[in-house]
Symmetry: C2
C-alpha cells in the first residue's frame, strides 16, 4: 500500500439527491462517475450508487492486483446507504438489491472495458427477484445472463462454452430464437452454466453476493490493462496511467407491474427543433424490450393518463435537465413501482435544421448566449440545410454504394457521354453523368448533369472537386460499377442510357429509379444564427469559383471574395480548346527556336570583335528567324484568339465579386492535359489543325510524363512560355479596367502557382507587373492589385522567408501540399489510404482532414517565416481543407487571414471559423 492515499477518500457516493463528487471531477471519478454525481446533486431521481476512484486503481496495481481493505470497507458502507435509499437489501431472499458494476475512465473508451449487470443474483435472491417482478421468466433469464456475463468477464470462462450450451438446448427444443425459451428452459441453463463455470475454473460459481461484488470490482480494474483497452489507448493516445474508476449502481426494473415501465424522450423535436417533449413509453417493460421492438411503444403522452403524477414529474425533470445542461436532452427513464428513475441523459442528437432552431430558441429563452449558440451546431450539419435530400419516407432500391464525394441528392436519366448529357439537358431532361472517371474534357457534361457518378477516383478526384464546386451531388469510386458499350451494371441490374437512377451524395448510396427528393427549408432562425456566426469569427471566408455563376452562388452563401479562381477550366470551354491545342502543338518548336535565337544573340554580343564569326552567326540568326515565322504566327495567334475569351471570363467574375478581392491562379496543369489521348481523337485533331497524325502523336508522346503531378506544370509553364503568362495577365487587367470604368470595385490578386523557389516567382512577377503597368497606362485607369503565390510545395513553405520578399500574399494549396508532404498521389492513394485509415495508421484521410503534424507544420513554418519577412503578408488557404471544420480551426490557430472553399461549403467554413475564434480567441 502506498502511504499518500491514506487520507484520501476512496469511494464517492451519489445517493438520494446527495453526491460526494461533481461533474468536473472526471480525473478522479471518470466520465461516467462524474456525470452520475452531477445528475444526483442536481436533484434528479438517479438510481443510487457509488464510484470507486481512479486513485484506487493505482493502489490496486501497486498492491499486486489486490483491492485494499479500506476501499472494501468504504464500499460496503456505501452499499448500506444504497440499500436504505431504494428499500432493498443486497443478498436478500425476498427483496434483493441488484447492482451493476461498470468501468468508467476519464475518456470514453466505448466497448473496451467490462460491465457486469444484475450482480447479486444467486438461487436465493433469484427467488426474491421473482417475487419482486412477478415474472419468473424474466428472473431466470436475468440469472442465466448474469452467470454468463460474470463467468466470461470476471472468471475468464471462454464465452463459446456458454454459447454452445445455449445452442444445444435450442436445437433440442427445436427453436431458433432465444425469446422462445421458457422459464424452465432458462432455469435449466442456469444449472448448466454453473456446471460449466465449475468445470472450467475448478471452483463453484460464487454464491455470496459480496464475493461477487469484490470479484467484479477487481475484474474492472484488471480490464484497464486488458489487451483491447491497451490497444485502444495506444491508438487514441490516451495515457496508461490515468486508470479507471468503478461504478456500482442499484439496478431498477420497469417490468414490475402496471405501475412500472420504461421509455426514451427528447426534450425538443430532434428533426425540426420544435420545443415540445417528444418520446415513447412502454408500460411494464425493461429498456431492452423497447429496443427489441416486440411490443409497440405508446406515445409519451399516454403516461399523462395512466400516471399523471409521474408524467408531471418527468416533464419537470426534463425541463430541469435541459436547463442544467443548457441544451436539448435525450433521456432514458424507468418507472419502478410508480417511482421515476432517470437512467441516462445526454445532449440530444439532432438534424442540422433542428440544431440551428434549438440553438436560436435557447438564446431567445435566455438559457444560452449567442456565442454559445454558435458553438452548439456542428458545422458539417449545415450541409443538410443547403442540399436536397432523398425523401426519408420513400421506398428505395439500393443498387450500390460509392464514396460520398459531394453532398445532396439528385435523380435523372443515366448518360455515359458528356456531349449526350449536354444535349439531353438542353432539351429539358434531368440527367446523371456516369463515367469511369472524369477529366477536364467532361466539364460541359458535368455542368449539364444533375449529379455525377464515377467508377474510379477518390474524394479529391476531378469529379469530386468539380461537383463540390458546383454544389451538385457526386458519388465517386464506386468499384462495383461496370461500364461497357451497352450501358452500366450495378447491384445486379443493367441500365441503359435514359434509365433513371437517384444519387444520394451525402451517404454515397446509388438508388434505382426516380426517387422523390425533399428540399430543405431555410428558416428565419438560420439568418439569425449566421449573423451571430459572422459576429464571432475573425477569419474571412472566400470561395473557390471559376465561373460568374459559381461566384454569385458563393456570394449568396456569404463568401467575401474569391480565394481561388482556376483559369484552366476556361481553356476547355467551347471552341477555345482548339486554340489551346494549336498553341500546344507548336509550343515545342517555338520554344526550341526561341532558345536557339537567344543563344545566337548571346554569342553575337560576346564575339562582337570577330567579324568572321559574327557573319556566320548572323546567317544562323536569319535562318532561325525564317524557321520561327510559322510556329510563332501559330503560337501567338492562338494566344491572341484566347485573350478576348479569357477577358470576358474575368469580366463576369469581377462583376459578381464587386468590392471583394478575386485571387486568380495562372495556368497550372501540364499541357498534356489539354491534348487528346485516343487514336480517334488524335486523328480528329490532326485533321482540324491540318497536321499529320504522326506529328500530333509525337507531340502527345513528347509531352507525356511519368509523374505528371511532379512534372512540367504550374509556374514552370509560365517560365518556359512567358507568352502564356502575358496573355493571362493582359486578360485580367483589361477585364479589370473595363469593369472599373463601369464603377465596379475590382481587387485582383494574381497568384503564381507551384512556386518552389523565389526566383521562379520573381521571374513571373516581373511579367505580371510589366503587363499590368502597360494595360493600366494605356487605359489611364489604375487598379489596386496584389501579386502572390500558392504555397503548395514543401520547399515553398521551407523558404517562405525568401518567397515573401516578393509575394504579397500566400495561399496554401493544401491538396498538392498534402500530396508532396506525404508522397501520396491523390489519384493512386485509393489503393492503400482506406487501409491506412481502417488500421489506424493514420487517424484520417489527410486529403479530407488537414494533417496537423506534417502538412500543418509546413503551414506553421511557412506562415511564420513569411510574416517575419513581410509583416503585412496576407495568408489564406485554398485547398479542399478550407471547407473542413477542424482544418478551418487550425487555420484560425495559425492566424490566417482567410480560408477559401467551394461555394456550398461557405456557410460551414463561416461557422467553423466562428467556433474556432470562440474557442481560441486571438490576441
Amino acid at each position: 500500500m502506498t502511504p499518500h492515499v491514506a487520507s484520501q477518500k476512496n469511494v464517492y457516493r451519489f445517493i438520494a439527491g446527495k453526491a460526494d463528487g461533481h461533474g468536473a471531477m472526471k480525473d478522479l471519478l471518470g466520465g461516467k462517475g462524474a456525470g452520475l454525481a452531477e445528475m444526483t446533486a442536481a436533484g434528479l431521481p438517479v438510481p443510487p450508487g457509488f464510484t470507486i476512484t481512479t486513485a484506487v486503481c493505482h493502489r490496486y496495481y501497486a498492491a499486486g492486483n489486490q483491492l485494499p481493505a479500506d476501499v472494501w470497507e468504504e464500499s460496503c458502507a456505501a452499499l448500506r446507504e444504497v440499500e436504505a435509499a431504494v428499500g432493498k437489501t443486497f443478498g436478500d431472499a425476498t427483496n434483493p438489491l441488484l447492482v451493476s458494476v461498470r468501468s468508467g475512465a476519464k475518456f470514453s473508451m466505448p466497448g473496451m472495458m467490462d460491465t457486469v449487470l444484475n450482480l447479486g443474483l444467486n438461487h436465493t435472491t433469484a427467488q426474491g427477484l421473482i417475487q419482486q417482478t412477478n415474472n419468473e421468466r424474466f428472473a431466470r433469464d436475468a440469472h442465466r445472463r448474469f452467470i454468463q456475463m460474470f463467468g466470461r468477464i470476471v472468471l475468464g470462462v471462454p464465452g463459446e462454452r456458454f454459447d454452445h450450451a445455449l445452442e444445444t438446448l435450442k436445437a433440442e427444443r427445436g427453436i431458433r430464437q432465444d425469446i422462445e425459451l421458457t422459464a424452465a428452459d432458462l432455469q435449466q441453463l442456469v444449472a448448466q452454466f454453473e456446471a460449466i463455470v465449475e468445470r472450467e475454473t475448478g471452483n463453484p460459481f460464487p454464491y455470496d453476493p459480496y464475493e461477487q461484488l469484490r470479484l467484479a470490482i477487481c475484474a474492472v480494474f484488471n480490464s484497464w490493462y486488458g489487451k483491447r483497452a491497451v490497444d485502444y489507448r495506444r491508438l487514441n493516445k490516451i495515457p496508461d496511467d490515468l486508470g479507471t474508476a468503478v461504478n456500482v449502481v442499484a439496478m431498477v426494473f420497469g417490468n414490475m407491474g402496471d405501475d412500472s415501465g420504461t421509455g426514451v424522450a427528447f426534450t425538443r423535436n430532434p428533426s425540426t427543433g420544435e420545443p415540445v417533449l417528444f418520446g415513447e413509453y412502454l408500460p411494464n417493460a425493461q429498456g431492452e424490450d423497447v429496443v427489441a421492438g416486440i411490443r409497440t411503444p405508446q406515445k409519451l403522452e399516454a403516461l399523462r393518463e395512466t400516471m399523471p403524477d409521474v408524467y408531471a414529474q418527468f416533464c419537470e425533470v426534463a425541463a430541469r435537465l435541459e436547463r442544467h445542461y443548457r441544451d436539448a436532452q435525450d433521456l432514458e427513464f424507468t418507472i419502478e413501482r410508480g417511482k421515476l428513475w432517470m437512467l441516462q441523459t445526454r445532449n440530444a442528437k439532432r438534424t442540422g435544421a433542428a440544431a440551428v432552431k434549438i440553438a436560436v430558441d435557447l438564446v431567445q429563452e435566455g438559457i444560452i448566449s449567442p456565442e454559445e449558440a454558435v458553438l452548439r451546431v456542428e458545422p458539417n450539419h449545415l450541409d443538410q440545410l443547403l442540399h436536397p435530400m432523398v425523401d426519408p419516407k420513400a421506398d428505395i432500391t439500393l443498387l450500390g454504394k460509392g464514396l460520398p464525394a459531394s453532398p445532396g441528392a439528385a435523380a435523372g436519366a443515366v448518360v455515359f457521354d458528356p456531349d449526350v448529357a449536354e444535349k439531353r439537358a438542353q432539351s429539358g431532361e434531368r440527367v446523371i453523368l456516369v463515367r469511369a472517371e472524369t477529366s477536364p474534357e467532361d466539364f460541359h457534361g458535368m455542368v449539364a448533369a444533375q449529379g455525377i457518378l464515377t467508377a474510379r477516383g477518390g474524394l479529391t478526384s476531378h469529379a469530386a472537386v468539380v461537383a463540390r464546386g458546383m454544389g451538385k451531388p457526386c458519388i465517386a469510386g464506386c468499384g462495383e460499377l461496370i461500364l461497357d458499350a451497352t450501358g452500366m451494371r450495378l447491384g445486379g441490374q443493367t441500365l441503359a442510357e435514359g434509365d433513371f437512377i437517384t444519387l444520394d451524395g451525402t451517404t454515397g448510396r446509388i438508388l434505382l429509379g426516380d426517387v422523390p427528393l425533399v428540399s430543405p427549408e431555410i428558416g428565419a432562425e438560420f439568418e439569425t444564427f449566421m449573423r451571430w456566426v459572422d459576429d464571432a469569427r475573425k477569419m474571412r471566408v472566400r470561395t473557390n469559383a471559376d465561373t460568374p455563376h459559381d461566384a454569385r452562388v458563393a456570394r449568396s452563401f456569404g463568401a467575401e471574395g474569391i480565394g481561388l479562381c482556376r483559369t484552366e477550366h476556361m481553356f476547355f470551354e467551347g471552341e477555345r480548346i482548339d486554340s489551346v491545342r494549336q498553341m500546344i502543338m507548336v509550343s515545342g518548336t517555338y520554344q526550341r527556336l526561341i532558345a536557339a535565337l537567344d543563344k545566337v544573340a548571346g554569342d553575337l554580343e560576346r564575339l562582337r570583335g570577330d567579324a568572321q564569326k559574327v557573319s556566320a552567326l548572323e546567317a544562323e540568326r536569319a535562318a532561325l528567324e525564317a524557321e520561327l515565322e510559322t510556329p510563332a504566327r501559330l503560337f501567338r495567334g492562338a494566344l491572341e484568339a484566347l485573350l478576348p475569351m479569357q477577358r470576358a471570363d474575368f469580366v463576369g467574375i469581377f462583376e459578381a465579386m464587386d468590392g471583394f478581392p478575386v485571387t486568380i491562379r495562372l495556368l497550372d496543369p501540364p499541357l498534356h492535359e489539354f491534348l487528346p489521348h485516343t487514336d480517334e481523337e488524335i486523328a480528329a485533331l490532326a485533321a482540324k489543325l491540318n497536321l499529320s497524325v504522326q506529328d500530333v502523336q509525337s507531340r502527345v508522346a513528347a509531352l507525356r510524363e511519368h509523374n505528371p503531378m511532379l512534372g512540367h506544370r504550374g509556374c514552370r509553364l509560365g517560365i518556359a512560355y512567358p507568352e502564356i503568362t502575358e496573355m493571362q495577365v493582359r486578360a485580367i487587367f483589361e477585364a479589370a479596367v473595363e469593369v472599373a470604368r463601369r464603377g465596379i470595385t475590382v481587387l485582383p490578386e494574381v497568384m503564381i502557382p507551384l512556386v518552389g523557389d523565389v526566383n521562379e516567382l520573381r521571374a513571373q512577377e516581373a511579367i505580371v507587373r510589366r503587363v499590368a503597368d502597360e494595360v493600366q497606362q494605356a487605359a489611364g485607369v489604375m487598379i489596386p492589385y496584389l501579386v502572390g503565390t500558392m504555397i503548395e510545395l514543401p520547399r515553398a513553405a521551407l523558404t517562405a522567408d525568401k518567397i515573401a520578399t516578393v509575394a504579397e500574399f500566400f495561399s496554401f494549396g493544401t491538396n498538392d501540399l498534402t500530396q508532396t508532404t506525404f508522397g501520396f498521389s491523390r489519384d493512386d492513394a485509393g489503393t492503400f489510404l482506406p487501409m491506412y485509415v481502417e488500421r489506424k495508421i493514420l487517424a484520417d484521410d489527410p486529403f479530407q482532414v488537414l494533417d496537423r503534424e506534417g502538412v500543418g507544420e509546413l503551414l506553421r513554418i511557412g506562415t511564420q517565416k513569411g510574416r517575419a519577412a513581410r509583416p503585412t503578408l496576407k495568408v489564406g488557404i485554398c485547398g479542399e481543407h478550407g471547407g473542413e471544420p477542424s482544418s478551418v480551426a487550425f487555420c484560425h490557430e495559425l492566424g490566417f487571414d482567410y480560408v477559401s472553399c467551394s461555394p456550398y461549403r461557405v456557410p460551414i467554413a463561416r461557422l467553423a471559423a466562428a467556433q474556432a475564434a470562440l474557442r481560441q480567441p486571438r490576441a
Copy 2:
C-alpha cells in the same frame, strides 16, 4: 566630397620591390591590386604601377561621378615613380611609358568590367613606340587597337563603327585576316578611327595622355554600375556597395628585339605532378603571339642558352613564388630588353593525378602540412584516378554528346537488346548497350556491357544510377540519338548491331569506332594521401551496393560498410522474376480475401451472442477460406521460392562486409515495375503462369498508377503485404546466422523505406523484431541489429521526433526527398530543369548538388528532431548526394555519422568529408 576620407590614402603603389599594400587588403585594393602588391612586396619583378582604392569609388559616385582632385594628384605622383622605375616617360616622344588601366573588385567578375591597354599612345608617342620596338607594324596596330578600345569603352562609340571600317578596308585590300594588314594599312585605320570618334562624339580623340588616363579611370569606376556588372552581381549575390578599385600598370613588351620575349610556365608538370619547371617561350614576341599560335614556341630550356642569367633568375623567381604561395604556380612572364617581368602568377590547374602528387610532394618538401595537402585536391578530381580515359593522343570522330552520367571511358560493339548484350559478352565480346532508356528489366544487359548509352533520361535516370553503382561509363539523355529497327543514327552516321563506338562518360562524348583508352595509374602518393584524408575526416563513408561484387569493389576503395543495399534488383535476377510475377498476379485476390476474412472474424467476435448471424458468418468464413486456398498457395509459394535466393544474396554481401554494418532496405518500388508492359510480354507471362491473357492484362491495368513515384510503394507495400516483409527479414537473419556461425561479424541494419508516419514504421518494426527473434531463437545465435528508416518524405523529416521513438537510425534518401520537396519528378524534370539552371533560377540541378535551402532544411529539422528524441540516433545519407563533395560537406556540418555513395565515389566522399572536417571542425 565626404570628409571622412580626407585622411585616408587614395593610391597604393607597387613599385620596384616596394608596395604600400599587401595580399590581404582585397576590400580596399580589390583582388588584382592586392595580388600585385603581394608579388611586388615578395621581391618579384612585377611591372610597376598603382591601385586607386575602392574607397575612391564611393567618393567618385558621392561626388556625382567626378574624380576627386586629391586622388588625381596622388595618381600623378605615383605615375612619376613608375616612370622612374621603368626608365620611360608618360607621353614622351622617344621613350614613352604606356600603361594599362583595369578594374579590380574584391571578387573576380570575369569579363564584366572594362580594361584599357596601351594607354598613352598618340601620334607623337606612337613614333616613340616605333623607335622602342623597332617594329612599325606592331606600333601602328597597338595604336589603332588603343583608339578602338578607348573609343568603345571610355567614349561610348558603338563597336560596330570600328568593325565596319576594318572590314571595309580588308575588303578593299582583298584580304581575310587582320594579320595581313600592313603598317600603312594600320596607319590609315588609325586616321579613320580618329575620324569615327570625332563624328560620333563631336570631339577629337583625346591627344593628351593625362587626359586619356583620367577618362579611363572614370570609365572603370562607371563600369561598376554598368548593366553587365550589375546583372552579374545580382546573380552571384555580390553586394553593390563593395565598389571597384582601378589598377594603373606600366606596359611591358616582349617584342623589342632578340633580348626580349614572352612565355608561360608551370612550376611542376600539370599532367603528372613531376617537380620540374615546365613551359614554353617565344623570343621577340608579345603574349598574344603565343596565344595566336602563328609561331611555334620553344621549350623553356631554350632560354637557358640564349639568356642564361634571365633563365636563372626565372628559375629562382618560380621557386620563390611556389614557396610564397605554397602551391604549384602557373606563370606568365615577359622579357623586355633582357629584363624579366612577371605578369601573372596563379595556382596551376592540374589533373587529379598531378594534384595528389604535388600535394604529397609539397608535404615532403616541408612546404605544407598534411592537412593542407588534403585541402589541395578537388574531390571530383579523384574520379580521373579511378576510371580509364580516352587516350588524349588518339584521333577521334565525334558522333554526338549526351549527359555525362557515369564517368570513365569504354569501347565496344553496339547492341540494342539486353539479352543480346549478355550473349555477346558471354562469348567474350566487348559491348555497349544502347537503349531509349533502361528499366530494371535491362539489368542483366547492363551487367554484361562495358558502357551504356541512352536517348532519354537524366543524370539520375535508372541507367545513370545503376551505371555509377557499377562504375561503368554511361551517357544518358542523348536527344539526337535515333533508334529504329535497323539500328541507331547519330551524328549523320548509321550504326548497326556490332559496329563499334566509344563512350567518354566523363565528358558525355560519343565517339565512332574502337578508340584506344588509357588506364590511370594509382601511385604510392595516392595511398599516402588517402591516409591523411582518413586521419582528417570525422564521418564514416559507406557505399550503396546491391551485390557482393559491388561490396568488394567498394571495400577496396575504402568503404566502411553498406549504407544502402537495395533488394529490388535482386528480384529481377534469373528465374526469380517468375516467382515475383506469380506473387504479384495473385496478390490482389489474396489481399482482398484476407481482408474479407479479417472482417468476418471481427464480426464474429462482435456478434458472439447472436447465433443466427454467427452461423451465417461461419458459412461465409468457410466459403472465403475455400476461395483463398489457391491464391494463398500461389502467393506464399512464390515467397517461399524467393526466400533461399534472397538469403544467398545476403550471405554474399555479409561475407564481403565482414565487420562492417550493412543497411538493407526492404522492397521499395511499386509492384507494377516488375510486370511486363507490351502485349507480347504479357502473352508470354500468361502462358508461363497458365493464366489467361485477359487476367494478366487486367492485373497490369489494376496496378498501373498516374504518379507511381507517389504511389503504392515503399513500406506501403510491406503494410499491405506483411508476408513480403516477413520473407525478406527471414532471408536477412537466416543469412546473418549462417555467416555468423562461420566467424564472420555481421551487423545488419534493417531499413524500412518511404515512412511518412511513425505508425507505418511501428507496424513494420513489429514484423522485423518478431521474425528476427524467431530466427535467432531457432538458431541459438544472437545477431546485433538495428531497425531504422529512410527519411525520404518531407513528412518524415517534419515528424522525425515521433519516428525516432521507433527508429534506431535515419538514412536520408535525398533523391526522393528532393523530388517531393521541390515537386520535381526526376523522370520528367529534364523538360525544364536544364532551363532553370541555365537561367539561374536554380544555381544547380538539385538532383546533383544537395539543395541546402529547402531539402537541406528538412535534413536539419529531421536530424535535430530525431536526435532530440533519441540522442544515440545514427544519421546518414544514402541518396546520390552522398558522393557529391559540397553535399558531403553539408552532411558534415549537420553532424551526420556517415555518408553512403556508389562504390566508385567512395574515395571522393572520403576526401570531401576530410576537407569538410578541416574547414569546419566539429565540437
